[in-house]
């Protein structure tokens, strides 16, 4: 087993950050086009953590008795793993309105549908762009969603074999609303090794 993501040197880490910025920027542009609204994206804060670090991060983020949606999408191929998108209830409601639904049309199912759609867009475009930048081939399963009110509900089904996790925290700014969401990219060791080698090759080719 080679080095994992956490062991990236400074140049490799900067390179990953830059690649993720490009990939995430592409996802924001896609959202703007799809809903015909100008959306901007704060420069994402990117952290690489272990599964233990992720649980600690989520523990701080998911306030007891709060309401969150966690959508997940499996990624297959050279950089296989799983993407999670976490959004709080208020942001998801605002997002649903940005997708053109009126107050009286919005219910739990509609919110879930919009969160799934945004997850699919952000996850597939971000991972797809990253894959194209490093010459990888990937495909996606349909995303799933669940509502959680505490960290335990997430912990119960958490696979601790994901040791290399990239957390991208950002805020989508639409014309009227600020929507906070977080994309979490989980990859297993084989994929992380592929990603690390690809980043290294990418730097050599520059």
């Amino acid at each position: 087993m080679g080095k994992n993501l956490i062991d990236l040197n400074e140049d490799e880490r900067d390179c990953l950050q830059e690649l993720m910025n490009i990939a995430y920027g592409e996802a924001t542009a896609a959202i703007s086009k799809i809903i015909d609204k100008f959306a901007t994206l704060n420069i994402p804060v990117i952290n690489t953590v272990t599964s233990e670090g992720l649980l600690k991060h989520l523990n701080e983020k998911i306030v007891e008795n709060g309401n969150y949606f966690i959508a997940n999408q499996l990624i297959h191929g050279n950089i296989s793993g799983e993407n999670l998108f976490i959004i709080d209830e208020k942001s998801s409601y605002n997002l649903t309105k940005e997708f053109g639904l009126e107050d009286d049309e919005i219910d739990d199912d509609e919110i879930k549908d919009v969160v799934l759609e945004i997850t699919n867009i952000i996850s597939s475009v971000t991972s797809g762009k990253l894959a194209s930048l490093i010459d990888a081939s990937i495909s996606f399963s349909s995303p799933n969603i669940k509502r959680v009110t505490n960290i335990k509900e997430f912990n119960d089904g958490f696979d601790k074999s994901y040791e290399n996790i990239i957390i991208i925290s950002t805020e989508l700014n639409f014309e009227d609303e600020h929507i906070k969401g977080e994309l979490i990219i989980l990859s297993k060791n084989e994929s992380s090794e592929y990603l690390r080698e690809s980043i290294s090759q990418f730097l050599e080719d520059l």
Partner: protein, 310 residues
């Protein structure tokens, strides 16, 4: 119309396949759909899918098609409310949970330049039926784990789970939390005189009396035998005492009708305590212990009374 009729996969696959333009006009319709919808491809070609199937949310489908064309990635229609896109009756005698075939839809890019997408329709009826049955069984299991079978009140296990959540909410919002412990006076006499079935009637009677005299937000639980515990959210010790007194009076005046000639009157004793972070060492079990001591005092000092904990 796109000529893919001779494509073997298109017409032999066990899924529905539709090719749509970005305005949702149908350009291809495979044999699976022809057979199940009784609509020939020639009958649906160049028609808007939303005009053919009024259940389809046009705004949503257009958005998903646009999403596929912009991102060049698949989009999925798998949220619970979208149980089907194309209305296809389920003709099953043995399984009748769903009237129409349950479907998952994947939309993929077909021709980006011509702005065409392909819809794959998967039959998920069997999977959903299995899930539905599992959900029902799960609900039953949760009910069995959390409810007292005789009174249908929550049991001690559920009370313990809920009280932890309520305690942390109460601490965060700086609100009072009080507890009432209640026990039927001389319950053994009722059982010995009238038998256990009548004893059960009295237990059920008290459960309904508690529900009648308490708020929806209060947690009422049968701890076992003839002992009941109530957790009152956002309630001071003074108010908890008044509530306990109201319950005591209500039960004192009530009668349990057994048959035409028999009615039973009974009384209860109650102990009341307020959760005190320091006194109780941040442990609601200690509050319960103090309320239980107060109940003991109510019993030993004559019964049919409410005593506040020290």
């Amino acid at each position: 119309m796109i000529d893919i009729n001779n494509n073997v996969i298109f017409n032999s696959v066990d899924n529905g396949i539709i090719i749509l333009d970005k305005e949702l006009n149908i350009l291809a319709w495979n044999r699976w759909l022809e057979i199940l919808t009784y609509k020939k491809e020639a009958d649906v070609i160049n028609k808007n899918i939303c005009e053919l199937y009024e259940n389809i949310n046009e705004k949503k489908l257009k958005r998903k098609v646009k999403s596929v064309l912009v991102t060049n990635n698949p989009s999925f229609y798998n949220v619970d409310q979208n149980r089907y896109l194309i209305k296809i009756p389920v003709e099953s005698i043995t399984n009748s949970i769903y009237k129409y075939m349950q479907q998952n839809i994947t939309i993929v890019p077909y021709d980006k330049d011509k702005e065409l997408v392909c819809l794959f329709i998967y039959n998920t009826t069997n999977l959903r039926e299995t899930n539905h049955k599992l959900e029902l069984l799960n609900e039953e299991l949760v009910e069995m784990t959390h409810r007292d079978p005789l009174t249908k009140l929550s049991n001690r296990r559920y009370f313990s789970m809920q009280s932890k959540k309520i305690q942390s909410y109460s601490k965060r919002n700086d609100t009072c939390l009080s507890l009432i412990v209640l026990d039927i006076d001389k319950f053994k006499n009722i059982n010995d005189t009238y038998g256990h079935l009548v004893g059960d009637e009295v237990i059920i009677h008290i459960a309904r009396a508690l529900e009648k005299n308490l708020r929806d937000s209060d947690i009422i639980s049968r701890f076992g035998g003839e002992e009941f515990v109530v957790l009152l959210q956002d309630c001071s010790i003074e108010n908890a005492y008044l509530v306990a007194e109201k319950i005591r009076e209500y039960i004192e005046k009530a009668e349990v009708i057994i048959d035409e000639n028999t009615t039973i009157k009974y009384t209860v004793s109650l102990g009341v305590a307020k959760f005190d972070e320091q006194k109780d060492n941040d442990n609601l079990e200690q509050t319960f212990a103090r309320a239980d001591e107060a109940l003991y005092e109510a019993k030993t000092s004559g019964r049919n009374k409410v005593v506040k904990a020290k």
